[in-house]
């Protein structure tokens, strides 16, 4: 609280002044603003100054590659003396690593960018290893829905893509197609056991609300009422079971799967649930790919990459400043002049389809649709629901796979 007050006073003093005003800093990480129900009023400039004064190295882990270059750009743009160490680490590894680092007090991350909300909540947030922090600036940019329970930085979506030589444009229009004999052994998806967001998606599919939608869609597709198997509590489980039993192909890489779906000269009606980003990339280099956003009752799923502070950050102020900056136009798209360490200009998410800032005012890449549109037609990851039910779904799949 002391820090908050100091911050607040200095904020008043510095109002309107362009010069940086440093406030006293202490090393103890503070994050009591959310708990007390008030939103942190510290500004980006104050955090930046405090971070400079702190001076310690900032360590960043991210599942998303752009954050790694954003680190370099941030340091170069503000000409910081503070060292940044940014590494791309997958979500599973990050969870083990961060949990171990914080619980043992080992040196490690200050801030993490991570997907798989269910495990982040149970393994990291519940245990107090990471905290959900945002200030008024971020809150204003993203709104309540994307600030709680976990702060979203970026959304990624996975949609049904298909081989355009063998699948007609409007052929895939109902999600039950994956259970159709006609497509047996030709539907791909990343292994939910190796990439958690897919498991979270399958978990959310089994919610009552989604199960009801699926039941309706079944009737639409097959023309008869869905009869549940004994081991399937609802239509969500039934869909998962039929999906696996119809020869679902699980892969370890979206890019790889996109390429095998879209390879030329095939005869099978390949399709799969693949990130839009990888779809675009492979379409550009000549693969025969199409995607559909018109599927009943949902055309895939969308999952967030969250930006969270560790509870033992060495330089929490600078980490927070970096987080704030990522929600700005400069942080997301680059300012067109800041360079990376190898001399190239930082372009951030420019032209990148399939990535959507939680700050929706930034807009999306050309040719892509707005975040709100996607959220309407896709299943949105619900970390709380997924955290609660994921073990059930994992065990269910363990039995049927």
């Amino acid at each position: 609280m002391k820090k908050f007050l100091t911050m607040f006073c200095s904020l008043c003093l510095c109002l309107g002044m362009a010069t940086g005003c440093s406030s006293t800093t202490d090393d103890t990480p503070t994050d009591d603003t959310n708990e007390t129900g008030e939103i942190d009023q510290t500004t980006f400039e104050e955090l930046l100054e405090a971070g400079k004064e702190n001076g310690k190295k900032v360590t960043v882990y991210s599942t998303h590659s752009v954050v790694v270059s954003a680190c370099e750009a941030f340091k170069n743009k503000f000409d910081l003396d503070v060292e940044f160490e940014c590494t791309q680490i997958g979500d599973t590894d990050q969870i083990t690593q961060v949990a171990t680092e914080v619980s043992t007090g080992a040196a490690g991350a200050d801030i993490i960018f991570i997907q798989d909300g269910a495990r982040v909540l149970t393994d990291l947030v519940d245990e107090g290893y990471v905290v959900n922090w945002y200030n008024q600036e971020i809150y204003d940019a993203v709104g309540e829905e994307q600030a709680e329970p976990l702060l979203v930085w970026d959304y990624c979506n996975k949609v049904f893509i298909y081989n355009t030589d063998n699948v007609a444009e409007d052929e895939i229009n109902n999600i039950w197609y994956v259970t159709d004999e006609k497509y047996a052994g030709t539907v791909m998806m990343k292994d939910p056991f190796t990439e958690g967001v897919n498991m979270d998606f399958l978990t959310v599919v089994t919610s009552d609300e989604n199960a009801a939608l699926l039941e309706e869609a079944y009737k639409e597709y097959y023309g008869e009422d869905l009869v549940l198997d004994d081991d399937c509590p609802n239509a969500g489980y039934q869909w998962i079971k039929m999906l696996y039993n119809n020869g679902l192909v699980v892969g370890t890489s979206d890019g790889d799967m996109a390429q095998s779906i879209g390879a030329e000269g095939q005869t099978k009606p390949w399709s799969g649930l693949i990130t839009l980003n990888k779809y675009v990339k492979n379409l550009e280099i000549g693969y025969k790919l199409g995607y559909t956003s018109d599927v009943t009752p949902f055309a895939g799923f969308i999952y967030p990459i969250y930006g969270l502070l560790t509870s033992n950050a060495d330089n929490p102020e600078m980490a927070k400043a970096f987080l704030c900056w990522l929600y700005t136009e400069d942080g997301w798209f680059g300012d067109g002049e800041t360079t990376l360490n190898d001399g190239s200009v930082y372009v951030g998410m420019t032209g990148r389809q399939g990535d959507y800032s939680a700050n929706t005012s930034l807009g999306v890449a050309d040719g892509d649709q707005e975040l709100s549109v996607w959220k309407d037609i896709l299943i949105v990851e619900d970390p709380e629901y997924a955290a609660e039910h994921r073990a059930d779904v994992e065990d269910f799949i363990n039995l049927i796979k």
Binding site: T87, Q97, T104, T122, D123, D256, M257, N398
Partner: protein
């Protein structure tokens, strides 16, 4: 009292006593304590398991044991992978013995052509990383049925390989069997080469036919070597991780090691720790079997006399055909995999092997700023790859110096105090790491060194933990060769020095070390090479900041960045071969001599 004190004083005045005591304490801490630590881990709730066990983290539970052994999931979590592991291990043994043994027979007992070149190439798979052939298999035979572009074979012939052929048990067995065939060749070949020709000559005089001679003389003679091969291959195959991960996962064919990896990565590590314990038990059982057999083999030793000229079997008309066939098999094991790596590392669109689709970008292309496959700098100019390469070499060098030095010192002190209880305990302690499969060993260290213990901080995520586990894991290799060579060295030589009043350090550096030079160098070389190509020991302990080449390769392969993973594979093979041949040229020590000392 005084007598006792004097006794103690004499005890501590002998450097090897001090060494033995140090080894006792350190090894107890690094080898025995972890075993208890992992048992504890099978009874507690880990943070990833909260939502399934519904208990507080760290509290006592029987959930893992129940789930693994008697729940409805036992089949898919334990019994099936265990069955798969056993099947793969048993059949790999058969493949190894047939191919390695057959090749040994051809080389030692027939007039097959090109023996010299072929024997050199036949050893290749043993020097290369264990997944080399698996990766090559995938390059050639992968199909599109499990996601991914077609392989070289399909591209060339248009024939789509069947799933059972491309993935799962069949290729795992074949590839593992071929990888360990050099074991069989070296062990069985040794017997065949030194076999007493009199036995066969006697049979010839008695007009025994060829078949009967083979069945009644040759086979019984090589049986002990075959059994040693089987035990070596069986335990190596049981603990092999990379091959089933590369070839089994696409069709969800799990073995114990891959199930262990999945459990530790997923939401139920407790189950993983039990699997690790199971693997250790299996490995101990194998070793007991081995001990029983070695007892048997001793009785054979009197039968094998020193050989005279062994009669050569003339292949006659079949000579050319058999030579060519053997040549093809040898090429498939050595040169052709390399070609596939080279090919795979230069194509842009996977599955298209036309010249227009080739580029050297993955080797020397400059970075395009992004972080997708085509955007990365080629591996030869990529600072990340160089950093990782350097890290690999640094790690392997430290591990080699550690394991080699401590192993030799352990061998020295064990032999000097041979017959004492202390010596026996230390000898057994140095051997335990050999019994623990790499992946299980890593799981143990993960569980134990994630927490701080007294003055030792948490080592998770540090370079130190990699160096530590590598040193301990490879200690048996060096200590065993140390023991063997010290046994051959008469203690009088050192005693002469003691009488002259030469201090211990000088005795070691001036007398023992120069005499044992070749053993010591082998003791360094073997851990170095093993560590350079080690994946399963490091893969769950490595964090982003201290990646090594093998884990980088593994990561790229998972991402589907085949071009990079193939290029890095070549880089690893290049370094290993360079070091191996360099040391061989300089000192005469060679890795083949160490067969049997590693898995």
């Amino acid at each position: 009292m005084k007598k006792k004190l004097n006794h103690l004083k004499t005890f501590f005045s002998k450097p090897y006593n001090v060494l033995l005591l140090i080894f006792l304490v350190v090894l107890a801490y690094l080898v025995v304590v972890p075993l208890f630590s992992i048992v504890k881990d099978t009874f507690i709730v880990h943070s990833a398991e909260k939502s399934r066990v519904h208990q507080a983290v760290g509290s006592f539970t029987l959930y893992h044991w129940n789930r693994l052994f008697v729940s409805q999931y036992s089949n898919s979590l334990l019994y099936e992978p265990l069955m798969h592991s056993l099947i793969c291990a048993v059949f790999s043994c058969i493949v190894s013995v047939l191919i390695g043994g057959g090749f040994a027979w051809l080389v030692t007992r027939t007039d097959m052509r090109w023996k010299k070149v072929m024997t050199k190439l036949f050893i290749f798979p043993y020097i290369m990383p264990s997944w080399t052939l698996a990766l090559a298999w995938k390059n050639f035979f992968k199909n599109t049925a499990v996601g991914g572009a077609m392989g070289i074979f399909t591209a060339a012939t248009g024939i789509e390989t069947a799933n059972w052929f491309a993935y799962g048990a069949f290729p795992i067995i074949l590839v593992t069997g071929l990888h360990y065939a050099p074991f069989a060749y070296i062990l069985i070949g040794g017997v065949l080469r030194n076999m007493d020709a009199n036995l066969e000559e006697a049979a010839v005089i008695l007009k025994t036919n060829r078949l009967r001679m083979f069945a009644r003389i040759t086979i019984p003679m090589v049986m002990p070597a075959v059994m040693s091969t089987i035990i070596l291959v069986f335990s190596s195959a049981m603990s092999s991780f990379a091959v089933p991960q590369f070839l089994g996962l696409p069709v969800r064919y799990y073995v114990l090691t891959t199930e262990l990896y999945a459990a530790l990565q997923g939401t139920n590590p407790g189950v993983g720790y039990i699997i690790a314990i199971l693997m250790i038990i299996i490995s101990v059982l194998i070793m007991i079997g081995n001990q029983l057999l070695i007892g048997k083999r001793k009785s054979y030793a009197t039968v094998t006399g020193k050989s005279a000229n062994v009669s050569v079997f003339h292949l006659k008309k079949a000579r050319n055909i058999i030579s060519i066939l053997a040549g093809v098999v040898v090429l498939c094991m050595s040169v052709i995999p390399m070609i596939s790596f080279m090919l795979q590392s230069v194509i842009i669109v996977k599955g298209d092997y036309s010249l227009a689709n080739m580029t050297l970008d993955f080797w020397i292309g400059i970075s395009k700023g992004g972080n997708d496959i085509m955007d990365k700098a080629g591996i030869l100019i990529n600072s990340d790859v160089w950093k990782t390469l350097f890290n690999s070499i640094k790690l392997s060098a430290i591990v080699a110096v550690g394991a080699g030095t401590f192993g030799f010192l352990a061998g020295y002190s064990i032999v000097r105090r041979r017959g004492s209880k202390l010596s026996r305990i230390v000898e057994n302690l140095t051997f335990i790491p050999y019994l623990i499969p790499s992946m299980a060993f890593a799981a143990i260290y993960l569980s134990m060194f994630s927490q701080s213990h007294g003055i030792i901080p948490s080592l998770y995520g540090t370079f130190a933990i990699l160096a530590l586990i590598g040193t301990v894991k490879y200690l048996p290799m060096a200590s065993r060769s140390g023991v063997n060579s010290m046994l051959q060295l008469s203690p009088e030589i050192e005693e002469a020095g003691i009488i002259q009043g030469i201090p211990w350090i000088k005795r070691m550096t001036r007398i023992i070390v120069p005499i044992e030079k070749s053993t010591i160098v082998s003791g360094y070389l073997l851990p170095f090479v093993s560590s350079m190509r080690e994946l399963s020991l490091y893969v769950i302990l490595v964090t982003a900041n201290n990646r090594v080449l093998t884990t980088l390769l593994f990561m790229y392969d998972e991402k589907g960045w085949d071009q990079y993973s193939n290029a890095i594979n070549l880089l690893i093979i290049f370094v290993v071969l360079l070091v191996n041949f360099g040391v061989e040229k300089l000192t005469g020590a060679s890795i083949e001599k160490g067969v049997g000392g590693s898995n």
